[in-house]
Subunit: 397 residues, 2 copies
């Protein structure tokens, strides 16, 4: 019995690779500070749980395939407040942003097609693309330039006859890079001129620290047929476990194709949709407080990194990740050493080694992604452990 | 901009096709009795809502990609009680049975591959198969034989070099056909001998009306590498809106491939998993009552059909559907006429026309699927409307 050639080209999550070694280290009594995963520690607004507790229907029935009207209305209203108007029919509710991405890619990619994505990028994009028979064509960036990719020449150089779409995570995971309005305009123009879809994964939209207005590729309504926005409540409301996202586009044909997928999986979880709709009643003070907290954390991480000799890191503008180049030979080996050989008073630290975030072989070997999802005091300790680890690792290697 | 050639081969749900006409009929004041959809009217056990109301964690975090241990344990225990043992690692929690099916097919099908499915079959299998670049090769059946397909010669005749798997829904949707233990054994043997996967979609396992023990292809542990069971809480507990299912197999390599998909979509909704685990505390009296109710309904539908001249229907053994051949030229045209032209004291009836359940072009034209998801009195009225409709339709056509 054979398996699909496409799934065989996919790999397991690189983020989970160190899990057994972390378990073993903990079994030996080590305490691990986790900077390796994007699970925020911020409380989910009670509005979510309140709505669920109020549910009184006797039968937990299927929701409509495109989503529950109450949630579609809430999302439409959220975008209206950001000065972007979408028809209700232009918003399809999905099981997390992940399903929205998977549906979009399944709709637009064929065997041999390519999708342009700035590297480093979220590694799950690989599985989603390869299972369509397509591949990611990376737009190269460098740590020295702060992973900046919004350069017309740099992007256009990579477009070829196989290119079907440009996909960007903005604000960026893993880099934290935030596009300016002018850069977004330029990318939209490139997509239009080359007849490409432009997919904006905007999961981290609220997490921008320069005081700027919230942005979306959805603003560019002169590119109705090109732009696809992927959104989710996961990070916005620290509700990752709700698995509620959406696919937004003004491209009617794409909506029609996507609906085939929506119908084939019947519906998205009913209660999570109802509860997520209620999340949108949360006021701006919630976001202001969360933003302030993450901004402080980012500043802590960047300041601590600046004190470590040989580390390369430009202060990123958003999300709750950053990439940094370390003065070590191999971040993967270094991580394993931190788990197996190193401790400081019984403590050690985990990050995500950079290589799996790259599409170009060999790149990212000395880079790491840091997720600043720990509160201030723990974050400082984690960064001190990283600094001490680098010093000791280089003394012994 | 182009769309995937695979998604273009898919269609929208045939079950939704009549929806706008139903809305129009209702707008004119008609009352419609719905025998067309598989949404049970049975109450969801309060155990589901109780568990959700007790959830007290401040952050609604991602669950592990293969599923929450509490739910995996509950499912393992459920199967242990049916005398089938699965390791915890052999149970992957999915977003409904639909996701389990989609993952399995993505893992095992390549472009040009075929999967054998007895027809008539659940139409969503088409989208799930075509998006893999593969196709359904139907095993033909007939209304005269009560849609019986468990015949070695009939099945083996359809196997060719492209065949990768046999998939059966047991008990059957749309036919209600229930396999005997001997028939299951034979199908397992065929799969083993021809080196095929055998996928059992067992969403309706509890809905058998002959007093027989509950069955599963998972019982055949001599076919470890062949058998894949797809299961769900949707119908078992009338919890369709929870979107909780699972993929069960002893095939380690398949589990490894499937895990790539599980990780790429991160996790299944956390609260729905916790609540679904609690559903498994429901006692046998729940199932006995539900089974009794559906059995009565089945008997009502079959008895009423027997009274209509020219209708062909053998009493099916399970699920809450049956297929019947009507003495009309075209069930599709007849359905439209029932919505647009017919009423009896303002009432009319909907069913699902049979053609979209077939893979062989032209088959099923005068057949319909009836979902007996209405309580007794409404069901009787719906069946009387069907009888009257057939009579009047044939007088005018």
């Amino acid at each position: 019995m054979r398996f699909s050639s496409k799934v065989q080209k996919c790999g397991l999550s690189p983020m989970r690779k160190f899990h057994p070694f972390a378990v073993a280290a903990e079994a030996k009594g080590k305490k691990i500070y986790h900077l390796n995963i994007g699970q925020p520690d911020v409380k989910t607004p009670p509005a979510f749980f309140d709505a669920i507790k109020k549910f009184e229907q006797p039968v937990l029935a299927y929701a409509p395939s495109p989503g529950l009207p109450v949630l579609i209305d809430a999302i439409q209203d959220y975008y209206d407040k950001l000065n972007m108007h979408f028809d209700k029919s232009e918003i399809l509710i999905t099981t997390g942003g992940s399903e929205a991405l998977a549906i979009v890619l399944q709709c637009i990619l064929d065997d041999g097609d390519e999708i342009l994505i700035p590297e480093p990028f979220y590694p799950n994009y690989n599985t989603m693309t390869r299972t369509c028979g397509a591949s990611i064509h990376p737009i190269p960036t460098s740590p020295e330039e702060g992973y900046h990719y919004a350069d017309r020449a740099k992007i256009e150089k990579e477009i070829n006859e196989h290119t079907r779409a440009i996909m960007v995570t903005n604000p960026g995971n893993p880099t934290g890079v935030v596009l300016t309005k002018e850069e977004m305009r330029m990318i939209v123009d490139v997509a239009k001129e080359h007849d490409l879809f432009l997919i904006g994964d905007e999961a981290y939209r609220e997490f921008v620290y320069g005081g700027e207005a919230l942005q979306s590729f959805g603003e560019f309504d002169d590119a109705k047929d090109n732009v696809i926005v992927v959104d989710t409540v996961s990070k916005r409301f620290s509700a990752c476990g709700a698995r509620i996202g959406c696919l937004i586009t003004r491209n009617k044909e794409l909506l029609g194709q996507a609906m085939k997928y929506c119908q084939s999986r019947l519906s998205v979880a009913t209660l999570d949709q109802i509860a997520s709709a209620n999340l949108y009643t949360v006021g701006p003070e919630y976001f202001a407080a969360v933003r302030e907290e993450y901004k402080k954390r980012r500043d802590t991480v960047v300041a601590k990194l600046a004190e470590i000799p040989g580390v390369q890191c430009k202060c990123p503008g958003g999300a709750f990740y950053l990439m940094a180049a370390l003065p070590v030979d191999d971040a993967d080996k270094f991580q394993m050493w931190l788990l197996e050989e190193f401790d400081d008073n019984g403590d050690t630290v985990m990050f995500a080694p950079g290589e799996p975030f790259y599409g170009t072989p060999g790149k990212g070997k000395n880079e790491i992604r840091i997720a600043y999802v720990l509160e201030q005091e723990k974050l400082e300790r984690a960064m001190d452990l990283l600094a001490l680890g680098i010093k000791k690792y280089n003394e012994t290697h």
